[in-house]
């Protein structure tokens, strides 16, 4: 189900909602699997009363992981060669996130085909929370 270089054009886009109504439970789940137990993400008492935030908020790496799901759904399993992001804004419980992937370039390198992609994930207000890029290996 990988993308084909011969059928992919610059400017093509793919969009996917990667989370709907993010729960605090999912933040706990992610803390548990990633090993990042920073109480800013799971401890509402600490996040609000000590750190001064309005609530706990998502690990940046959870937003990157959610965005990665859209990428692998688009380019196929095991096809990513690069994936990088900037964390643009915090993600809060209740947020819904949508990822848009755009094909910037389709190119050949050492006999293989690759697509360079830009990636942006926005919240329900359209504010970018993740902005980044990725490269994927394509079929001919």
């Amino acid at each position: 189900m990988a993308l084909k270089a011969s059928e992919l054009s610059v400017g093509a886009t793919y969009e996917e909602q990667v989370v709907d109504n993010l729960t605090r439970t999912q933040l706990v789940q992610y803390a548990g699997t990633s090993g990042d137990y920073n109480p800013l993400h799971t401890d509402e008492v600490f996040a609000t009363q000590v750190a001064g935030y309005p609530a706990v908020f998502a690990h940046g790496m959870l937003s990157m992981g959610l965005t990665g799901k859209a990428l692998t759904n688009y380019v196929g399993d095991g096809r990513l060669t690069k994936y990088g992001v900037r964390f643009k804004a915090q993600v809060w419980p209740g947020d819904s996130l949508t990822t848009t992937i755009t094909v910037d370039e389709v190119r050949d390198e050492d006999g293989s085909h690759y697509a360079d992609l830009s990636v942006v994930t926005v919240n329900q207000e359209g504010t970018p929370v993740i902005q980044g890029s990725a490269t994927a290996r394509l079929d001919p």
Binding site: T33, F46, V50, M64, G65, G68, D77, T81, K82
Partner: protein, 162 residues
């Protein structure tokens, strides 16, 4: 600078994929994964971050017998005077995949410091950036994933917009 071993395990991959809401069977079902191009279970793209579980010195994991800064009887268990109002946040993360890790790999994780710089921020006061580069090498010494992380220390709590 740190160096430790990260055993890649199928159950950890399954739970990690669940935690990022990804039902793709290639992360959870060895039978179904056989029929995919990779030919077996692989790790999701951000899985290497979970190597923190195996870092003996990881500072964001509570350690038995040591004070923890999250809430207990009080809103924080941090020793008095340790707070500064600012927050350490993750600014950027980049992965380069030489191949995708699989269950059974034992990756050696080695992190070195990169560059540091400062910038005046719009919402968080003075921002101090610190880069680190982590290499994940397999049991044969082959490079599997290279990660570049940029952290930022803010002077104060990041102001919310709107």
């Amino acid at each position: 600078m740190s160096k430790f071993e990260f055993p890649v395990e199928a159950s950890h991959i399954l739970m990690f994929a669940r935690s990022v809401g990804d039902p793709n069977p290639i992360y959870a079902d060895a039978e179904q994964a056989k029929d995919t191009e990779p030919g077996g279970v692989i790790a999701p793209p951000t899985f290497c971050q979970a190597s923190a579980q195996f870092n003996p010195d990881y500072f964001l994991r509570p350690k038995i017998g040591e004070p923890w800064f999250g809430s207990g009887k009080e809103p924080t268990g941090a020793p008095a005077g340790s707070g500064g109002g600012g927050t350490g946040l993750h600014a950027e993360q980049h992965f380069e995949y030489h191949r995708h890790p699989r269950p059974g790999d034992v990756l050696t994780v080695e992190t070195r410091d990169g560059e540091t710089w400062e910038k005046q921020g719009r919402r968080g006061g003075l921002l101090k950036f610190r880069e680190s580069i982590t290499e994940y090498r397999d049991q044969n010494g082959e490079l599997v994933v290279t990660a570049r992380s940029i952290g930022v220390q803010t002077e104060k709590v990041v102001e919310q917009e709107g």
